[in-house]
Symmetry: D2
Subunit: 92 residues, 4 copies
């Protein structure tokens, strides 16, 4: 991933926050918290992960995908299309 | 959450696995792994979280929601409907 | 579907609007419109369908699911849980 | 949309099938069919629409997006990235 040091640091710190949220979830389960609240928290983590995924995807489009399409290599282009379609399929 | 000890242990251990996956993601970012692979791993975590969410939702339907609907309390029933619609809205 | 006449009329008219949107989509394809605009229109139809689905789901929860859970019939209850989980699975 | 005549005809006929499915949905509502069956049918239409959207998206990537990225025009490139991110956002 040809990503700048600043971006990598940002992604790392977002992942650390998500790790903390997962630990928070385990505590909620231990404390027998209301399922609705636990589900809300799971949703928050999903949104946070989606947001990290989006940042990485944008970077990926701007670098690898753009390089692949500009290279004129038809197979590399097709692989990029497949990859983007795969991201749509996964709703990432 | 009126959940059995066995179910709670199962949910806890799934969350611990997810925590490990997040740490794995941080390592992948540190090691400058290919974005496509990182995105695949994010997708795996999303699926794992969704699966935990589904288990909790099922338990919630079988306990709190069922109790609310059987109580005959119309407001409690409406809150249960709202809650289920909210889960659909969040695609949890 | 134990739905009031007014609700049924409302759902019918929403479906007619969606039918019109689909015809509009065919015209856009015939006229070689920009793919981005066609995709926006497809997204609008998806949202309209989702909204009809949500209205039917809410009605379903308030009637059939509630009856099933109140009946005390354990198998009917399990089928209702399965149905709701299925709706979540389909992201309807 | 720089799409071949064969592809346009294919997309048109898929949209006509979807139009027929919507009419089928209206009949189901008129006939007071079980909500679960109506919701299943709505889900089928959603899937059919998603599949048309995917075909158009793939074509869009192979033509407009590729042209934009190869043109060397940085603004056109950014608009393409925005567009792809928008498709992901809409889960199209």
């Amino acid at each position: 991933m040809p990503v700048s040091d600043a971006d990598r640091e940002e992604i790392r710190s977002r992942l650390s926050r998500i790790e903390g949220q997962i630990r928070g979830l385990k505590r909620m389960v231990d404390e027998d918290r209301y399922c609705g609240d636990i589900l809300d928290q799971i949703h928050s983590v999903q949104q946070a992960l989606k947001s990290v995924g989006r940042a990485i995807t944008r970077n990926h489009l701007e670098t690898c995908v753009t390089d692949a399409l500009r290279s004129g290599d038809e197979q590399a282009a097709q692989e990029s299309y497949d990859e983007i379609m795969g991201l749509l399929e996964k709703e990432l």
